[in-house]
Symmetry: C2
Subunit: 450 residues, 2 copies
Amino acid sequence: MSKVENTSFEDCLQRLMSSLEASLYEEATTQLASLHSAEIARLLEAIPPKDRTQLWLNIDTGTQGDILKDLSEDVRTQLLSEMEVDAIVKATEGLDMDDLADVIPNLPESALHNLLLTLDHKHREYLKRVLSYPQDTAGGLMNIDIITVRDDVSVRTVIRYLRLLKEMPIDTDQIFVVDHDYQYIGAIHISILLTHEAEQNIAPLINKDLRPIPVDTTEKKVADLFEQRDLISAPVVDSNNQLIGRITIDDVVDVIREHAEQSVMSMAGLDGEEDVFAPAMQSVKRRSIWLGVNLITVFIAVFFIGLFEATLQEKIALAILMPVVASMGGIAGTQTLILVTRGISTGRVTTSNLKVLMSREVAIGVLNGIIWALVIGVATYVWFADAILSAIIALAIIANLIFAAFSGAFLPLLLVRFKIDPALAGGVILTTITDVIGFVAFLGLASLVI
Amino acid sequence: MSKVENTSFEDCLQRLMSSLEASLYEEATTQLASLHSAEIARLLEAIPPKDRTQLWLNIDTGTQGDILKDLSEDVRTQLLSEMEVDAIVKATEGLDMDDLADVIPNLPESALHNLLLTLDHKHREYLKRVLSYPQDTAGGLMNIDIITVRDDVSVRTVIRYLRLLKEMPIDTDQIFVVDHDYQYIGAIHISILLTHEAEQNIAPLINKDLRPIPVDTTEKKVADLFEQRDLISAPVVDSNNQLIGRITIDDVVDVIREHAEQSVMSMAGLDGEEDVFAPAMQSVKRRSIWLGVNLITVFIAVFFIGLFEATLQEKIALAILMPVVASMGGIAGTQTLILVTRGISTGRVTTSNLKVLMSREVAIGVLNGIIWALVIGVATYVWFADAILSAIIALAIIANLIFAAFSGAFLPLLLVRFKIDPALAGGVILTTITDVIGFVAFLGLASLVI
């Protein structure tokens, strides 16, 4: 993957690492000078914290601001904690308002206070407003750099107005039309202004299909909307339908990427923002929670093995083979679980089609159960030359795979009902179930027969 | 998650399911009529194949085309296979060229042939060109709807030209500047045309920092570029720097989403395009590969248990507790593995910083090992009141957690070197390693002492 594709970035990193290993910090700083702020951010995330700090303090404050907004939270917090209050204020005062709003939650109290003093009234009010919305809603994603016009003017008037402005906010693909009360009416893509005659009135050019996004919409839903409708930017309105800002695709792309990373990371109980070079103690603390949860579940599973101590004593081959039954159930169940969890998060699976889904998954479980029961039964016979043992493991496999399919389909919807993220908790609960069922089915059957 | 956020979609699905259960296909079709094609696509993916076909054949061919481009590959192939050749041609002939290029790989041969006959020479040539690039490269992502101008004209001339065109291709945020040989020079954001005086020559307005994307760039790298540079669209050039098309963010968003889904799905050996309602037999076949791989690995692990049959016979508590050692190693190793795999795919982890990373992970492994060895040692003593058994399991846990950290950090880079996707194969190989180390350390130590 990375080998071929990130060659240039990898080269940068390699050069940087050799400079740092030789403690040539000035040379390292020079290497960064020609790079884009997003690339510098990635490089900083790819080096150990000690070198990171050294390098960071050599970068000029103007560039620091741009880099800060591209850093992941963990690394950003680390670097901010190494800076003087004055330096933080200097670095952040040049940022766009919406980027500033992203950085603010990580600022130390004193720096935040001083920073607010440097802003003029209008910007301070704006910042207060943006910060009043939860970060993971449309309000937290939006910026207020919008251009608005009334609906009773001509194309010429609009263009004259735009020329007076001298430049448009970055990524402006449309201007918004509002009434006298700043109520949102519709949007006009700026390409429309360029392709229509100057005398034309704008009223018939307004796109009224672009529905505004309510300010309290969750960022996940905003991302879905952008993706489904192929939006570049969209207006945001408050509860009175007054236009208060717009969301642009670049911020939505960050949301999509973060959610995607989070869902992979949470499968191992990790935080999506985790710094690869965070201090070991910090990581030990974070990861321990997950190891602790797992320990509880595995002790539940082995408690059930303990119930069959006498049976195990009788036939030690059972102890050798029991991981096979548990493991196959775990894998089959996880396949169903991931498919259904992903279906839920994309909206394709709900309670209304659960029944159909469930019967399909159980059918797959039955078929898979029979196939693998045969394979494992034969393998067991070859190893232990014990027909009864073969029959027992085959039956246990069928039982566990059917139950695994059932649990894998049912569990995510149950968790969602209790407002628990199935991507986080699903895997660990499911494998506990398949372990217990696997051990009980296998050892329980054996205790009846032997 | 979905409960609150997709209320309206969920309602649609519920109404649709009840109509379908009552076999009211006409009513169901009417329910779809007012929806956006992307929403219809999602609904079709959320219902069983039989109903899907019924509903599909009731939708008019104009809408079918738009829906086709939004469907996942599995469902698209299913629906296309149910259609007559003529109907396919009718449904697809209205599509934009780049959407058509996406659909074509799923078309039956005969439909493709007839479809090509309906296109004029220019479009046929275009389609041939687009199809000549691999789908997962810049060439496969791009479309050719671009507006180009020369660099020696005024803003007025450009606007006059645009008014002649009457409309711009969808999502045009910039026009491209080329020389007499169609070599790419730079781009002008269309907002620039609106904010500058008509007499102004465009030469100084050209943004030469927007570097063109070579046509053979992988789609993953294209997505990284868009994300890092916050691009809305970008020019694509061939190996002679001639401008041949542009990539727009909406297609890049699809790539980001697909890659994200793929990486979650591949952790359970699933295909990212898998239809939640695919025929059971098809899913059994697909999932069997993964179950088969797992069976081999688990037999490797239990083979090692088999080596200690005599020791197990001596002390059956070992059999009861051995899953604890294996499982804790598996979880700890997976945490490292996922962190490093994600670091590799974002470019933050390479061979140049592997040494630092490795020592950090092993340090975490040692710390975690000591902590959990104590906890598990005490728990074991409480359960079995056997000090030697406690000491054995504690040492085995420390050994397995250290080795798990080492393997979790090392394995992904090793797999990448052999061009194997670590997200797909990493987990299964790693847990085999931690299982084997766990069983051997625990039972091996026991066989020495007991």
